[in-house]
């Protein structure tokens, strides 16, 4: 019996709490949680014996509202994240609109462990108290240094850029295939290869979502991701954050919500305006944004506002011209060669670290 058929059969049989996503990956609906008048809700979640990774997520609370974790406590009762010192431990939690995921592990210094974890969620809503729905995904089983990840490419009205950019012709489109080859080359540095590659055409409002403007359209597009243990890349004509300027990619989260579709953090959006001129660049952006989805962060932020929780990625502090912004040139020997460098460039950003590979190997959608 195929894994997908088995999952469907179990779902139809009414398996109550933990519908099977994959052999070793389960999704559990944790139900609704009401916040206090101060916007805080305590969300316990249970990681099973043999857990490899565990992710809890809560929302939706809307695109004009942000939430984060006040604190996260592990099964031993230790505070493994404190909003007052967000870079002090091996966990990172974003300040995110609509949906907040918390993934463990994002660093070898804080592996997943069995037992009850607790998220103290803070929702900065204009009307309090409010109610959110939470869920969790757990992965158990083997961990390997050689892994694969299934991906879906959803074309959102991009056949004007290259005629083959649709579900029918994508497998034969030269630009798409070069981008995928580059993605595969770069991810090999993580011990990660491409598994099944699925092509699909976006079935919704193509005119609106082929050029993403702002966080709301971005999140709405990601909500259309399938409920599968795969990484969904949406190929669009353009992305701008609302100020008119094109950016090259965005990931839900980071980290993304793994193996669970239908949320505003369930995928990655890639601007493919440059794919004919530079398919390698699109492959690099896929590797970078896909890395975010799988739990990786920038080694150092361009504005020096933070750093990833990993011990073997360089921290750059060489702002030679003291303009408050780190450039690739300033950090040539301190992180600019890493694919997760915030302004990664083709030909320069080609590496991942051992710790980055360790994190990705444990993500719920990665298969040993």
């Amino acid at each position: 019996m195929s894994r997908r058929f088995l999952a469907g059969a179990l779902a139809l049989a009414g398996c109550p709490d933990e519908p099977l996503v994959d052999e070793d990956v389960t999704f559990t609906d944790l139900g609704k949680f009401a916040t206090t008048d101060e916007g805080v809700a305590t969300v316990p979640w249970e990681a099973p014996e043999g857990v490899v990774s565990t992710e809890v997520f809560c929302g939706p609370y809307g695109f004009d509202t942000f939430a984060t974790a006040d604190a996260v406590t592990d099964p031993a009762g230790a505070a493994v994240y404190d909003d007052d010192a967000p870079f002090a431990t091996g966990l990172r939690v974003g300040v995110l609109d609509d949906m907040l995921p918390v993934l463990v592990p994002v660093s070898p210094t804080l592996p997943a462990s069995a037992g009850e974890w607790t998220l103290d969620l803070f929702v900065d809503a204009s009307a309090l108290p409010t109610t959110v729905t939470c869920g969790m995904v757990n992965r158990v089983g083997d961990v390997s240094a050689d892994n694969s990840v299934d991906i879906a490419i959803v074309f959102v009205g991009v056949d004007g850029i290259s005629a083959g950019m649709n579900a029918t012709s994508g497998a034969g489109d030269a630009s798409v295939q070069v981008a995928l080859a580059t993605l595969g080359d770069l991810w090999s540095g993580l011990g990660l290869s491409l598994g099944d590659v699925r092509y699909d055409d976006f079935g919704g409002d193509v005119a609106t979502y082929s050029s993403i403007v702002g966080d709301e359209e971005f999140g709405e597009l990601l909500r259309t991701a399938a409920d599968e243990p795969e990484l969904t890349f949406y190929f669009v004509q353009d992305i701008d954050l609302g100020d008119g300027a094109s950016i090259l990619g965005l990931s839900g989260g980071p980290p993304g919500i793994a193996a669970h579709g239908g949320t505003s953090k369930s995928g990655v959006v890639i601007n493919v305006a440059n794919i004919v001129a530079s398919p390698d660049q699109v492959g690099l952006i896929m590797a970078h944004e896909g890395g975010h989805f799988l739990g990786l962060f920038h080694p150092t932020e361009n504005d020096m506002s933070g750093e990833d929780p990993l011990g073997d990625t360089p921290v750059c502090a060489t702002d030679t011209d003291a303009d408050g912004t780190l450039t690739s040139a300033e950090c040539a020997d301190a992180g600019a060669d890493n694919v997760m460098w915030p302004s990664a460039q083709v030909g320069t950003a080609t590496t991942f670290s051992d710790d980055q590979a360790w994190v990705v190997a444990r993500n719920p959608i990665v298969k040993p």
């Binding site: 005119a207 050029s211 353009d238 090259l248 450039t327 302004s343």
Partner: protein, 170 residues
């Protein structure tokens, strides 16, 4: 001696140009972030020449060219306005560049760009029309609202109509 000083000056100048170009390209190439008006202002007026060079370079990446056209709105000049107007009106040009030109015109010339933008509301490309509607909607200008209202009566595309409705709302 004077000769050597002059050569050193030329070398310094070339180095400065190279550094400025690298800064401009960096701002045009953000993966997940985009430059602010303050970022452009910090580069000084010399950045406009670099933006012109990228915007008109046929081998530059489309997103860099588009972002250069948009950023020329931060350095308004007659030459920049001519370039943006010509790009917006050229139906054979990459729609991405035409869309960024519309937004750049609104950014740089405000209400003075309304006639040019209004004329582009009938463009055959849906994405260009959407960007023109966005550009007009961002202007606090009665002429812009009037143009949006007029287009609402004939606009055939649902997505553009949705933006038009939002644009004419108070």
């Amino acid at each position: 001696m004077l000769h050597l000083v002059f050569l050193a000056f030329l070398a310094d100048s070339a180095h400065a140009d190279e550094a400025l170009r690298a800064r401009v390209i960096g701002l045009l190439s953000g993966i997940e972030s985009s430059p602010t008006a303050a970022d452009w202002a910090a580069l000084g007026p010399g950045a406009a020449d670099e933006l012109f060079a990228v915007a008109t370079d046929p081998v530059a990446l489309p997103t860099q060219r588009g972002n250069a056209l948009l950023a020329l709105g931060n350095f308004p000049s007659p030459a920049a306005r001519d370039l943006l107007t010509a790009t917006l009106g050229a139906s054979s040009v990459d729609p991405l560049l035409r869309r960024k030109s519309a937004l750049g015109l609104a950014r740089g010339w405000g209400g003075a760009a309304v006639p040019t933008l209004s004329a582009a509301l009938t463009d055959t490309d849906v994405q260009v029309r959407m960007s023109v509607v966005r550009a007009l909607s961002e202007l606090d200008d009665e002429g812009a609202r009037e143009a949006l209202r007029a287009r609402l009566a004939t606009e055939p595309d649902a997505a553009v109509r949705k933006l038009l409705v939002a644009g004419v709302s108070p």
